[in-house]
Amino acid sequence: MSLLQTQDLSLGYGPLAIIEALSLAAPSGQITALIGPNGCGKSTVLRGMARLLRPRQGSVLLDGRAIHSLPTKQMARELGILPQAPTAPEGISVRELVAQGRYPHQAWFQQWSQADEQALQTALDLTHLQPLAERAVDTLSGGQRQRAWIAMALAQETNILLLDEPTTYLDLAHQLEILNLLADLNQQGKTIIMVLHDLNLAAAYADRLVALREGQIFAQGSPAEVLTEETVEQVFGIKSRIVPHPVTGLPLCLPLSQRVPA
């Protein structure tokens, strides 16, 4: 099994340091969700782990190998990445987009192979996109579009999938649709690491939460360990009550608003 971890990782943009000496491990076969307020560095950490951002110091290790020093094409066969709110070129079909996921498996002048077609079909099946395969991505609904991008990452056939806010801009039903899909993929053995905004959805779907504050890990562990009234207050600066979900028993965060009904 593959273990992705950061070791004393420092990241930043230009003169701006965002993350300093962060060590974090994402257990294999689990869903790990990074949570925290805007600007806490959670997307930056994910970008670092996805090798979209070079570390200033420290390293990101996959099974003990530093991912930034390995050939990028080889890494792309092991780590699948879905950046935040990607936009597809106008007119590209679902099939064409998903087929791009085979890029790291193809050599320079290699033709589309049996294995490529197999991976493409499997990705379309898993995301239930077969009926939409010939449609242009820009004519799909937000949820379908996001499924198409996930299918592209699935065609990459990696053990690990990193997603940066995969539910942004989606309504609640589509958010659940995407998270259910990710839970299914996890059941089939994929390690999933994602940034999520919604604390309650993160608690419902992740095995493990990592709460970040100002570029540091504030708390990590199971949803019950991390999602506490104290952590929410320290990390987000808001008062809340944590109650058990009436059906699942998982922690549910209810923020206390200033407005109290008379």
Partner: protein
């Protein structure tokens, strides 16, 4: 939402229509060689290739005027079509064309200041100045865009390109306002034309443009992947910096070569990629060869129409492409906005 299918054509169809597009290009090129101010019958046209007679005026017109002219139009049209397609794909800006990076503005300023400062007057010298000016401008746009957070992004390239274009264009205007002789000298070059280019000039630019086209075709798949966005391409294991640099070289060589040969010619680089993508979709392995063939055919045809319309006078081809490309462009914009 309507069940609109993607522009997807089967590979075998795309493959088998490629020779058809090639044949159309050959036909319009032959038409361009056969028609002109002087009436030369088709037997003489063919004879000038098989039994060239230097004393026959008809043969001379074909071989020293019309053939280089047709070849110039083919090279320039293909170069602009391909350069425009790559720029639109990589900047993810459907309105991008080689003018966007300031290539034409830089080439024009170089030629105009060459005339003003060094009294240059021959087309081959213009070509050299244009190529150098265009290349330097793209390098400047790139360097300026690389400053600040996030490095070179399509957005910054567009803004910097537009700003630099405006600056260079105003410098050009300033020179032309102060120096009447430069204006006289450069007027026809500024309109963009494929007429009067010697075979020598054509053969000099041939390796550049053919090399650029060959590189573009080789890197078609990489360019398709990069058109999904840099983060996605990097996630798929592409060495993005390297592919971006190669694409930039291709665009500079093609657009710089085109402006050196023919002066600034608008609309081909903008319109041709859109026309081609309606049919090929977004796979650049197909978009680029078709953009080359369609761009070449369109420019040869524009030049031919410009000669036939006001015979025995001529309309510079840059004006013809604007007359044809303008309406097509407005149609494209309107049909895109509707969606």
């Amino acid at each position: 939402m309507p069940g609109q299918p993607a522009a997807q054509t089967r590979p075998w169809l795309l493959f088998s229509l490629l020779p058809v597009a090639g044949a159309i290009l050959v036909l319009v090129a032959l038409g361009s060689i056969a028609f002109g101010a002087a009436d030369i019958n088709i037997q003489d046209v063919l004879a000038s290739f098989s039994h060239f007679d230097a004393k026959d005026t008809g043969h001379l017109i074909i071989q020293t005027l019309r053939l280089p002219r047709a070849l110039t139009a083919i090279l320039v049209g293909a170069a602009l079509g391909v350069a425009g397609a790559i720029m639109q794909g990589l900047t993810r800006n459907p309105l991008a064309d080689p003018g966007l990076l300031g290539i034409e503005a830089g080439a024009t300023l170089a030629v105009v200041s060459g005339i003003f400062l060094f009294k240059i007057s021959a087309l081959p010298v213009y070509a050299l100045f244009a190529f150098v000016g265009g290349t330097l401008t793209v390098l400047a746009v790139y360097a300026l865009s690389a400053m600040g957070r996030g490095g070179v992004t399509p957005y910054k390239l567009t803004i910097v390109g537009a700003a630099l274009t405006a600056l260079l264009a105003s410098l050009t205007t300033t020179i032309l306002l102060f120096d009447q002789r430069s204006l006289e000298e450069v007027r026809f070059w500024l309109a963009g034309s494929v007429a009067g280019r010697s075979m020598e000039l054509v053969t000099q630019s041939l390796p550049f443009i053919l090399g650029g086209l060959a590189l573009a075709l080789i890197f078609g798949r990489q360019i398709t992947t990069l058109s999904l966005g840099e983060d996605v391409a990097r996630g798929l294991g592409q060495n993005v910096g390297w592919i971006k640099a190669i694409s930039a070289v291709i665009v500079v060589v093609l657009a710089g070569g085109a402006v050196a040969l023919a002066g600034p010619i608008g609309f081909i680089g903008l319109v041709v990629p859109h026309m081609v993508r309606m049919f090929t979709g977004v796979d650049y392995r197909w978009t680029l060869p078709y953009a080359a063939l369609v761009g070449a055919s369109l420019l040869v045809l524009s030049d031919l129409v410009g000669r036939v319309l006001v015979r025995p006078l001529e309309m510079p081809v840059g004006i013809m492409t604007a007359a044809i490309g303008g309406p097509v462009f407005i149609y494209l914009v309107r049909s895109k906005i509707k969606r």
